[in-house]
Subunit: 314 residues, 6 copies
Amino acid sequence: MSKGVMHFDVGEQVELYLLIKSSTKGVASNGKPFLTLILQDQSGEIEAKLWDAKQEDEQTYSAQGIVKIAGDIHHYRGRNQLKIKNIRPLQDHESFDVSDFLETAPLKKDEMMDTITQYIFEMKNPNIQRITRNLVKEHQQALLEYPAATKNHHEFVSGLAYHVVSMLKLAKSIAALYPSLDTDLLYAGVILHDLGKVTELSGPISTTYTVEGNLLGHISIMVNEIAQAAKELDIDSEEVVILQHLILSHHGKAEWGSPKPPMIKEAEILHYIDNLDAKMNMLDRALERVKPGEFSERVFALENRSFYKPVFHK
Amino acid sequence: MSKGVMHFDVGEQVELYLLIKSSTKGVASNGKPFLTLILQDQSGEIEAKLWDAKQEDEQTYSAQGIVKIAGDIHHYRGRNQLKIKNIRPLQDHESFDVSDFLETAPLKKDEMMDTITQYIFEMKNPNIQRITRNLVKEHQQALLEYPAATKNHHEFVSGLAYHVVSMLKLAKSIAALYPSLDTDLLYAGVILHDLGKVTELSGPISTTYTVEGNLLGHISIMVNEIAQAAKELDIDSEEVVILQHLILSHHGKAEWGSPKPPMIKEAEILHYIDNLDAKMNMLDRALERVKPGEFSERVFALENRSFYKPVFHK
Amino acid sequence: MSKGVMHFDVGEQVELYLLIKSSTKGVASNGKPFLTLILQDQSGEIEAKLWDAKQEDEQTYSAQGIVKIAGDIHHYRGRNQLKIKNIRPLQDHESFDVSDFLETAPLKKDEMMDTITQYIFEMKNPNIQRITRNLVKEHQQALLEYPAATKNHHEFVSGLAYHVVSMLKLAKSIAALYPSLDTDLLYAGVILHDLGKVTELSGPISTTYTVEGNLLGHISIMVNEIAQAAKELDIDSEEVVILQHLILSHHGKAEWGSPKPPMIKEAEILHYIDNLDAKMNMLDRALERVKPGEFSERVFALENRSFYKPVFHK
Amino acid sequence: MSKGVMHFDVGEQVELYLLIKSSTKGVASNGKPFLTLILQDQSGEIEAKLWDAKQEDEQTYSAQGIVKIAGDIHHYRGRNQLKIKNIRPLQDHESFDVSDFLETAPLKKDEMMDTITQYIFEMKNPNIQRITRNLVKEHQQALLEYPAATKNHHEFVSGLAYHVVSMLKLAKSIAALYPSLDTDLLYAGVILHDLGKVTELSGPISTTYTVEGNLLGHISIMVNEIAQAAKELDIDSEEVVILQHLILSHHGKAEWGSPKPPMIKEAEILHYIDNLDAKMNMLDRALERVKPGEFSERVFALENRSFYKPVFHK
Amino acid sequence: MSKGVMHFDVGEQVELYLLIKSSTKGVASNGKPFLTLILQDQSGEIEAKLWDAKQEDEQTYSAQGIVKIAGDIHHYRGRNQLKIKNIRPLQDHESFDVSDFLETAPLKKDEMMDTITQYIFEMKNPNIQRITRNLVKEHQQALLEYPAATKNHHEFVSGLAYHVVSMLKLAKSIAALYPSLDTDLLYAGVILHDLGKVTELSGPISTTYTVEGNLLGHISIMVNEIAQAAKELDIDSEEVVILQHLILSHHGKAEWGSPKPPMIKEAEILHYIDNLDAKMNMLDRALERVKPGEFSERVFALENRSFYKPVFHK
Amino acid sequence: MSKGVMHFDVGEQVELYLLIKSSTKGVASNGKPFLTLILQDQSGEIEAKLWDAKQEDEQTYSAQGIVKIAGDIHHYRGRNQLKIKNIRPLQDHESFDVSDFLETAPLKKDEMMDTITQYIFEMKNPNIQRITRNLVKEHQQALLEYPAATKNHHEFVSGLAYHVVSMLKLAKSIAALYPSLDTDLLYAGVILHDLGKVTELSGPISTTYTVEGNLLGHISIMVNEIAQAAKELDIDSEEVVILQHLILSHHGKAEWGSPKPPMIKEAEILHYIDNLDAKMNMLDRALERVKPGEFSERVFALENRSFYKPVFHK
C-alpha cells in the first residue's frame, strides 16, 4: 500500500482503499441525512462527510468495513478533511485484511516478546520472576496485540508491548546510573503495570472500555491478578504485596487514579519511566509533521500545549 | 469502675486505675528526662507528664501497662491534663483486664452479629448473599472487635461492627423511601465496605497501620478478597464485579482514595450512608460535653469546624 | 393524552399535540432562517428543527404555544430528535391547557400541603413553629406550584413541594435512628431551605431567574424573610438566628454558595438530606430508560458521571 | 505616656505601665504553673512570661487589668519578648484609663464622622441616601469605636471608621478618573460594606466574635438590616436590591464568603477598593519597623509573603 | 465615516466600507465552500458568511483587504451577524487607509506621549528615571501604536499607551492618599510593565504572538531589556534589581505568570493598579450597549460573569 | 576523621570535633537562656541544646565555629539529639578546616569539570556551544562549589556540579533511546538550568538566599545572563531564545515558578531529567539509614511521603 492518506497535502487528488474506523449519522441543515466517516490506513486517520446518505448507505459504510474512495484533501478548522467524490465498498475480487489498514508498533511481535522474555530471564528474585512470567504467559497474545490506550499515547496495534519494551530499556539505562535501584522490581513493574488493560479494553480494533474496565479499571484488575497468580504459585512472601503496590501506585497520585501514592523507591521511579515514555511518544507524534519554525497542534494530554520546532532543526 | 477520668472537672482530686495507651520519653528544659503518658479508661483519655523520670520508669510505665494514679486536673492549651502526685504500677493482688479500660461500642457483640446475620439472611440474590456471608464468616471475630479507624470516628473497640450496624439500619430506612434501590447491593456494600480494615489495621488496642495496610489500603485488600471468595464459591457472574465496584468506589472520589467514582446507583448511596453515619458519630462526640450557648472544640475531620449548641437546647 | 413523546423509539412515526417550551431562530448554512423548537409533553421534552421558516412562523411557533405535529424520531449526537413532516398551530375547536403538557410531581398538591402542615403541627418549639407556619402561609400557592430548580433535579411543576415532602420523610427516618437530633430544627430547615426560590425563580413554566434571584439568590432572600417574619411575630429569641443559619449554611460550603458552613448539628444533617434527595431524583431519572447491561447518559450535576445498570437488574 | 513598649530595642531596660490584653495559664516543664501575658500600650503589644505563678496571680493579672512592669527586652523566635523582673497591679493613687493603652486610628472620631456625613450629603439618589443615613445613624457610636477586624488589618480602636474614610477618599479619586461609575452606589457600598461588623464583633477591646457573628457573619447581618431599613423608610424600589447586592458580593468570590460574585460595575470596584485599602494598611504596618535592605516578617494575610525595603529608601 | 457597523439594529439595511480582519474557509453542509469573514470599522467588528465562495474569492476577500458591502443585520446565537447581499473589493478611485477602520484609543498619540514624558520628568531617582527614559525612547513608536493585548482589554490601536496613561493617573491619585508609596517606582513600573508586549505581539493590526513572545513572554523580555539598558547606561545599583522585580511580579502570582510574587510594596500596588484599569476597561465595554434593567453578555476575563445595569441608571 | 556523628546509635557515648552550622538563643521555661546548636560533620548534622548559657557563650559558640564536644545520643520526637556533657571551642594547637566538616559531593571537582567540559566539547551547534562555554567559564569556580539548593536535594558542597553531572549522564542515556532528541539543546539545558543559583544563593556554607535571589530567582537571573552572553559573543540567532526558553520553562509549570511551560521537546525532557535526578537523590538519602521492613522519615519535598524498604532487600 503505497502513499498513506496522511501524506497527501491540501488540494491533492486521492484514490485509496481505506478502513472505516467509525461511521456516525447526522442530519444536515437541509434536512437530509449524512454520514461522518473516520477513515484510516497505516499512516493515520482522516474525516470525510458522505452527504445525502441513503437508507442503505448506513449499512454499507459501517465501522470496520473497507472502502475504495476518490476525492481531494481540504483544510477545515485546523485539520485536513477528505472531500469524497466517489466511494464504493470492496468488491469480491479485491482482497484486503483489516490489519493492512491499522497503525502498528514499529517492532515485530516476536522481537518484542523476545525482549520481554529476556528481561524476565535476568531477574534474580525467584518470586518476582515467577509471578511476572506466569502473568505474561497467561495474557501473552493480548499483550502483543493490544494498544496501550484508546487515545493520547501508544494507541495503535501492539502499542502495549511497544510501550513495555521502550520502558524496559529506559529502566535498564536509569538503573545503570543509579545502582541502588532493584531492577527485578523495576522490570516486573514495567511489564505488569498496564497489563490489566487487556481486560480493561475491548481489543486492538475500534478499542473501547469493557464493563469491567469501566467499573474496576486496569489497576485494580491487575492487583487482583497478582494475588491470584501468587496463590496459584503458592507464593506468600512480601514480594506479592510489593508487586501489588507497584501497580497500585503507578499513576502517582490519588487524583490520577492511584489509591496509594508510591511508597517504594522503585514505585516512584516506575511512575516516572511510564510518564517519560508516554510523553516522548506524544511529543514525537505531535512534531512529526511540523516544519521548522512552526508550532504543532495542541496536545490535549500535555496540558493542551502546542510545541515549537526550532528553525535550526534542519 | 465508678467515675471515669473524663468526668472530673478542673481542680478536682483524682485517684484512679488507668491504662497507659502510650508512653513517650522527652528531655525537659532542665536537661532531665520525663515521660508523656496518655492514660485512658472507658470514659476517654487524658495526658499526664511524669517529670524527672528514672531509667527504670521508662520500663515500668510503658504502653498497655495499668497504673494506680493520684493527682489533680489542670487545664492546659484548651485541654485537660492530669498532674501526677503519685503513680505506681498494678500490684499483684489487684486484678484488672486491659478491656476494662477501653472504650467500647454501646452494643454487645452478640447483638451486632445477630443484626448483621439477619440482614444477610434477608438478601434475595444468592451470589451476593453467599459472597457476603463467606467473607463475614472468615473475618467474624475481627469484625466484632476492631475499631472502624485509628481516629476521627468509631475509633473504639467494636467500632467497625457498630458502624456497620448503624449503616444497615440507615440503608433500610432510606431504601423504604426510595424503592428503586437494590437492598441486596446496599446491605452487602455496607457489610463489606470497611471489612478490609481488619487487615489494614493492627487490632483493637493501640491501633496502627500494618505494612499491607499502608501499601495497599483496605479498599484494594477487600476488592482482592471478593475475587478470591468468588473463586472459592465458584461464582463467575456480574455480581462479583459490581460488589468489587461498590467497595472500590465507596470513598466517592479519586482524591479521597477511590480509584473509580461510584457508577452504580447503590454505590453512590453507599458512599452517602457511610458519610452520614460517620458524621453523626463525630458530631455527637464533639457536642456531648458542650453546654448550651457554647461552641465545641474544632473537629479536624469536619473541615476543622467548631459546632454550636443552641441556648434553647435545654 | 396517550403515549408521550419520550416513549417513542428511533424510527417510529409520531403524531402528537405538544407544547413549545422554547423557540430560537437561526440561519442555516444555505442562508435561510430556521427555528429550533424544544417541544414537551408530560413524558419529557425533545428537540425539532423547522427548516426554511417564514417570517410569520417565528410568531406562530413561539414559546408556550401548543402545536399539532407529525414526524419521525431520529437519533442525533446521542439524543433523540423529532424530524418534522407536518406542523400546525392549535385550531379553535381543539382545547388544551398548558398544564396538560407539563411534567408534574407524582403527588397531588393537597396531599403535599397536608404532609407539610402535619410536620409543622408536630413541632414542639413554638417560636420555630410560628415562623415556619407564617412563611409557608405567605408563599403557600407558589410553594405548591414552583419547581425546585431550572434544571438538574426536581425541575418540574410542584417540584419544590415534592422535594420538601421527600426530605421531611427522610428527616423523620434519620432522626428516628439518631435521637440526639432536634426534629423541630430539622423539619423547619427542610421546609424553608429552598422557599426563597419562589422569589428567585420566575414561575413554574419556562422558568428563569428574576433580577432579585440573580443578584441576591434564594439563600439571602429567605434569610431576610425569616428576619421579617420574626419581627412581625415579635419573636426575638435565639431561634431566629439558628433558623437563619440553617438556611444560610445549607449548601454546605462557601464555594457552593453558603457564606457560612454548617455550625449546628442539624444544619450539617440538613445539607446531607438535601443532597441525598436531590441525588436520588437525578439517579432515578438518569436510569429510568437505561436497559440492564448499559450505561446512562452523563449526568452533569453528578460530576458528569455515567451510571451502569447491572445485568442482573431484571 | 512617653516611649511605647514597641520602641525599645533588644537589651534595653523597660519600666512601664501596660494593659493586659490576655492572660493564659500554663504548666512549665518543672511542673510549676506560669502565665503568658500579652501586654499592650498604644505602640503595640509584646509577650511576657510570669514564671512560678501563684494561685492568686491568675486573678491579679487577668485580661483588661493594668500593671506596672520592669524588665528587659529579649529576642525569641523572631519576635521581641519582655522578660519580667518586677510586676505589680495598679495602685489606688495611679489613675489610668484602658483607652490610654489601646492603639487607635490616627484620625479623631469627629473628623471621621464629618467626612462620612459629607459623603452621604453629596449623594443624589434619595433612596440610597436615606437608607445609608438611616443605618449610619442607628450604629453611629459603634461605627466610630469598633475595629474593622480582630486581626490582619485595621484591628485597632476606630479601625472600622478609619477604613471607611480611607476607602471613601479612594472611591472619589477613582470615580474622578472613570466617570462612568455611580458615586452614590460606590459611597453607600463603602459606608455599609463592613457595618455589620458592629454586630459580628464584641466591641473595641479584646475583640471576639459574637454568636450571631459566627453563625451569620457581617455580610448577611447587613443585608438583613438594609431590608429592614428600607421597610421602615417605605422604600420599595430597585435601589434596595442593588445595595444588598453590593454588600453581599463585596468579598468578591464564593470561596471568600460572598454567596454571589459582583454583578454590578460598582460592586466589582467596591471589592477592589476594599482590598486596596486593607493591603496598604497591612503593608505599611509590616514595613514600618523594617530597615532599608531588610525583609519584613511574613504577613499571613498577604499569602505569608515577606516584603523588602529597598536600600535606596533612605 | 458616518454610522459604524456596530450601531445598526437587527433588521436594518447596511451599506458600508469595511476592513476584513480575518477570512477563514469552510465547507458548508451542501458540500460547497464558504468564507467566514470578520469585518470591522472603528465602531467594532461583526461576522459575515460568504456562501458558495468561488476559488478566486478566497484571494479577493483575504485579511486586511477593504470591501464595500451591502446586507442586513441578523441575530444569531446571541450576537449580531451581517447577512451579505452584495460584496465587492475596493475600486481604484476609492481611497481608504487601513487605519480608518481600526478602533483606536480615545486619546491622541501626542497627548499620550506628553503625559508619559511628564511623569518620567517628575521622577527624582536618576537611575530609575534614566532606565525608564531609555527604554521608552527605544520603543517609543511601538508603545504608541500597539494594543495592550490581543483580546480581553485595551485590544485596540494605541491600547498599550492608553492603558499606561490611565494607570499613571491612577497611580498618582493613589499615591496622594498613601504617601508612603515611592512614586518613582510606581510610575516606572506602570510605564515598563507591559512594554515587553511590543516584542511579544506582532503589531497593531491582526495582532498575534511572535515566536519570542510565545517562548519567553513579555515579562521575561522586559526583565532582560532592563538589564541591558542598565548595562548600557552603566548603572549597577539596587534600582536595577528592584525595577526587574516590579516587572517580574506584576501578574501577582506564579499561576498568573509571575515567577515571583510581589515582595516590594510598590510591586503589590502596581499589580492592583494594572488590574483595576483593565477591569474598568472591560466593564465599560461590556456595559456600553446594555439597557437599564438588563444583563450584559458574559465577560470571559471576568470569570465569565454577566453584569447588570440597574433600572435607575437612566 | 573517624566515625561521623550520624553513625552513632541512641545511647552511645560521643567525643567529636564538630562544626557549628547555626546557633540560636532561647529562654528556657525556668527563665534561663540556652543555645540551640546545629552541629555537623561530613556524615550529616545533629541538634544539641546548651542549657544555662552564659552571656559569653553566645559569642563563643556561634555559627561556623568548631568545637570539641562530649555527650551521648538521645532520641527526641523522631530524631536523634546530642546531649552535651562537655563542650569547648577549638584550642590553638588543634588545626581543622571548615571544609573538613562539610558534606561534599562524592566526585572530585576536577572530575566533574572534565565531564562538563567533555559534554560541551561534543556539541555540534556552535552557537549553543559558545554560549554554554562562555557562561560555564564565567561561573566555573562557583559552579564547582555551590550546593544545588538550601535543602531538599543536593544541598551539600559541590551539589550543583554533581547534580549537573548526573543529569548529563541521564540525558545521554535517554537520548540514546529516543534519537529524535537534540543532544546539544539537552546538554546545554542541563548545564545552564540551575547555574543562576550561584547568584541566587550566598555560597557553599550556611547557605541562604541573596536579595537578588529572593527578588528575581535563579531562572530570571540566568535568562538575563544568556542574553548578555549572546550579546558579548555577537550571536543573534534563534538559539538564544530557545536556550532562554529551556531555562525559563524547566520548572515545568507556572505554579512551580516557570512563567512559560515547556514548548520545545527538549524543554519538556529537561524538566523530567531534572526531576528524576532530584528524586533519586532524595530517595537515596531518605532510605540510606532505614532497615529492611521499616519506613523512612517523611520527605517533605516528596509530598511528605514516607518510604518503605522491603524485607527482602537484604
